[in-house]
Subunit: 191 residues, 2 copies
Amino acid sequence: MRPSKKDELVSKALEVFYRDGFHATGMDKLVVETGVSKTSMYKHFRTKEELILAALDLRDTNFRTWFLTRVAELADTPEGQLIAGFDALAEWFEEDNYRGCMFIKACSEFQEVDHPIHQQAARHKQILLDHLTGLAQAAGAKDPDCLGSQMLLLKEGAIVSSVLISSGAPARDAKAAAQVLLDSAVKHQAA
Amino acid sequence: MRPSKKDELVSKALEVFYRDGFHATGMDKLVVETGVSKTSMYKHFRTKEELILAALDLRDTNFRTWFLTRVAELADTPEGQLIAGFDALAEWFEEDNYRGCMFIKACSEFQEVDHPIHQQAARHKQILLDHLTGLAQAAGAKDPDCLGSQMLLLKEGAIVSSVLISSGAPARDAKAAAQVLLDSAVKHQAA
DNA sequence: TCGACTATGTACAGACCGGTACACTTTGAG
DNA sequence: CTCAAAGTGTACCGGTCTGTACATAGTCGA
């Protein structure tokens, strides 16, 4: 099938970028790994940046789909889902090829705030934030924006820490923290 | 003076690496920015990696010195210092040239866990973690390891979020979260 | 079978990478 | 002043980067 060819390239590029980084991955390496010719590659993507953006877009879709699905499997109340997110993270951290958050890395390598890659990463995080804020609101938190932001903080922190200390432990600590914050925010509401 | 020349090179390299990233910064650019010749540069540092390690070492010293000093100025009890750390972060986020955490970026660009650069970054975080755990213990937390880890999680999360959304707001949310966690951990202890 | 058109592969351009060879300038001892 | 040792600047190495020109192979209507 023709259209899947491009998707296949993006998928493979995503894998290599995630594994080796953006600047450290040359188009030559991608050409070798995907098996297509350079010409074909540049037919589908005019520049490397366009390929990176496509890879990030795929990553955004994949990750959010996986995360939302997994969380929905683990819990069916807003409160439960906020907490379950950290169990999902813990599972992610245990994966063999876990290398941290691709969007954090993208922002590390492309730092200018107005860079398309930076902005795409920011968009991804914003969507997650909106989701968490929505859950916080549904859970009846006193200040949903604050609680949502805090949940995201804990998630980012857990991701970064898990990479830096090569351990899944941060997910557990983050989950415990989330529980305390959630209880506090909801209790405040009730009081 | 001889030793200061090398320090000067490291200092300038640190600035450029922090601003532009590691892979994106070539030795040629550093040579131009520092004004020395390439030969001199390679007299002081045998490889680029050695220069990066020296820059990270300087960063480690500078950051920890600044952080500990600032926190000590802001509070003089363990509890107060745990919270004041987030005020210090907020000030950092407001700096003009703020670009996030250099060590997170280093790990993003050099992902192999056994890479010297990765390990040096991990060491930096470990020292911070030990410090925070110590404060948590002094504050009388029930589980100092957990609380210290959570404080670090919130810090990392705030740093990452502040970069991704280009705002200092995460520091405020992280501080609020830290206060709740601290109260909870200490109250548990008393109960 | 032909011929126009599209997709692919190869080989290369021009710039830049980390790193070095070597000629040069400066310095200090005698 | 002489001369060797140390420090400096320039020009360059092979390799790799992103991106392209061009020749070839495959496809489809007539």
